[in-house]
């Protein structure tokens, strides 16, 4: 999601101006045809999957790429002279090239594979953080961060005596940019904020954030776990020093995440975990480490997951991230309008720039009850604190229900959500 982009005209994968064909897209996802809550004598309900911000479903292209890889090409990577090991290495490393292109990173060496987004934050905290931060230095995060971008800094704080500062947000869920700028004090050495909120949907002005931080010599890290699946990302255009994303929200498999890091930063960082694959030479007296990104990838990597992520990137790239963004923005506008027709329903997060994530509460009905009822209607949403407890406190709610849309969702599914919420209100009436 480039910083200045609004939804661009819808275009098909072949570059023509054919409309985004969501019915055709849905055929690529086997799980979307299944029914849920089937019982003897009672037909199931069609699945309305609106929990994409937690994890997205997988297209056949991803499922088949992983199966084909296991049936035809599988071996360990980076260490064998035999045919399959070379083949496996080529395919796995091919995904590094795909990720680099997907994020418009300047070089494949700037892409580090991790287990998930969470590990990427921990990696930066424990390598860059430990090497570059000392007691009294500060990391500035925001009030809308996921626990994955809070707790690793608290661990580092407990280890080294750094401070954690928190930039506030406005009532509509936007980052308070005036307050943010004011918090860029000399002790701040890292700004670590989300590109897109998993609860509010807010897309933060990352380019402005990077510019303000860089003007003071502060390094920036962006959490792209949500934003990178809803629109195009260009880490060079936004001038990110670190950028984190995850595979399973991008229609790829679980078990693989990505850390982009500016090459000069990665090259100067000490290793993360120790083990095989990350070393140059090992003796009992002294071990030397490989260059980035391999220095940060100890042990056998998530090879099969890497193949799946490569296929997922091919898939969304063929559809076009601009086209996906336009489709989701249309859905967001439609679903927001329809939900707001429901009396007593409050949408949490109404920033002008949003991804297709709708958190809401209903007067008098606890989100957990909403979740159970919607589920019986076939509508899968997330309820709870969404790994963002401080944000729940900010809005004075214990929890919310969250509907999050993906590239295969439809207006009819937004209608199904509204219908189920309306029935839920009647049930508890």
């Amino acid at each position: 999601m480039t910083d200045t982009a609004t939804a661009s005209p819808i275009s098909a994968a072949d570059g023509s101006n054919a409309p985004y064909d969501v019915a055709r897209v849905r055929e690529d996802f086997p799980i979307l045809t299944r029914l849920v809550h089937e019982r003897p004598g009672r037909p199931g309900k069609p699945l309305v999957y609106l929990d994409n911000a937690a994890s997205a479903q997988k297209p056949r292209a991803v499922i088949e790429a992983m199966t084909r890889f296991l049936e035809q090409d599988y071996a360990n990577v980076h260490r064998g002279v035999h045919f399959l090991s070379q083949r496996s290495t080529d395919l796995y490393e091919g995904t590094r090239d795909k990720v680099a292109r997907f994020l418009n990173a300047p070089a494949r060496e700037t892409i580090v594979f991790t287990r998930n987004a969470t590990e990427a934050f921990n990696l930066v905290a424990q390598t860059w953080g430990r090497a570059n931060l000392k007691a009294g230095d500060a990391v500035l995060i925001s009030e809308m961060e996921h626990h994955a971008n809070i707790v690793p800094w608290q661990l580092l704080r407990d280890q080294t005596g750094i401070q954690l500062k928190v930039a506030p947000i406005l009532d509509d869920g936007s980052l308070d940019m005036d307050a943010f700028a004011g918090l860029l004090t000399p002790e701040v050495k890292l700004v670590a904020v989300t590109h897109g909120s998993n609860v509010l949907g807010t897309i933060n002005p990352v380019k402005d954030i990077a510019r303000l931080a860089h003007a003071k010599g502060i390094t920036v890290l962006f959490d792209g776990s949500q934003a990178a699946v809803h629109g195009p990302v260009d880490v060079q255009a936004i001038d990110a020093d670190f950028y984190v994303m995850t595979g399973h929200k991008l229609y790829g498999p679980t078990g693989i995440g990505v850390l982009y890091g500016r090459k000069a930063l990665l090259d100067a960082m000490p290793p993360y975990q120790g083990g095989g694959d990350m070393i140059s030479t090992v003796s009992f007296a002294r071990t030397t480490y490989r260059e980035a990104p391999y220095r940060f990838e100890a042990g056998t990597p998530p090879i099969i997951e890497g193949i799946g992520l490569g296929a997922a990137i091919d898939y969304v790239t063929a559809l076009g991230m601009d086209a996906i963004q336009a489709h989701e923005q249309r859905l967001l506008a439609y679903a927001s309008e329809r939900l707001q027709e429901i009396e007593g329903l409050r949408i949490i997060g109404t920033a002008p720039r949003k991804a297709a994530i709708l958190s809401f509460t209903i007067d008098g009905i606890h989100p957990h009850d909403i979740g159970t009822l919607l589920d019986r209607g076939g509508v899968a949403v997330r309820v709870g604190r969404h790994c963002a407890e401080p944000l729940m406190d900010r809005f004075g709610v214990g929890a919310t229900a969250r509907a999050s849309f993906g590239l295969y969702n439809t207006e009819a599914e937004a209608d199904a959500l509204v219908e189920a919420v309306t029935a839920c209100k009647a049930f508890f009436g």
Partner: protein, 160 residues
């Protein structure tokens, strides 16, 4: 749309959920604990007034939660008033079994107030909803923590 949810959300539950009994922090109490379900954000507090002989003279609760957890807490406060500590423990055990185990696996918790168990029967529907069991048992775990003099309990580390 939700016909088969009537087993989970029986009228008694909807009633207690909307109009919880013994709700609010009382002026006097001598045992209290907070209970937390971090998965759904529910937080409640239970306030007990124990007599010298261990009889539960009064029970109140406050906090926020779903219809199931509010109703369960409300029912519990009604049921426990006047019970001995041992009776409360026995009810906890029997209720926990009812919410989490098939009937042939229920264990002997000693003398259990059958009338009370009949009233708690309305919550047995959670058995079919594994994600909601903790909603029903949160108040009871919190009550037990208060009895045992523990300040807090959480559904994520108390072996719920």
């Amino acid at each position: 749309m939700f016909d088969d949810l009537r087993d989970l959300y029986q009228e008694v539950i909807l009633d207690h959920g909307k109009n919880p009994r013994n709700f609010g922090r009382p002026e006097a109490f001598n045992r209290t604990a907070r209970g937390d379900n971090p998965l759904c954000g529910d937080k409640i507090a239970v306030y007990l007034t124990l007599a010298d002989d261990g009889t539960i003279r009064d029970v109140h609760f406050d906090g926020r939660g779903c219809a199931i957890s509010q109703a369960s807490a409300s029912l519990m406060t009604d049921i426990l008033r006047g019970k001995s500590t041992a009776e409360a423990e026995a009810l906890f055990g029997a209720f926990h079994d009812m919410c989490t185990k098939d009937e042939d696996q229920w264990t002997d918790h000693g003398a259990v107030d059958e009338d009370a168990m009949d009233k708690l029967q309305v919550l047995s529907g959670v058995r079919e909803f594994p994600m909601r069991v903790k909603c029903a048992t949160l108040a009871w775990h919190t009550m037990r923590a208060a009895l045992h003099g523990e300040a807090t309990t959480s559904t994520e580390n108390a072996g719920f």
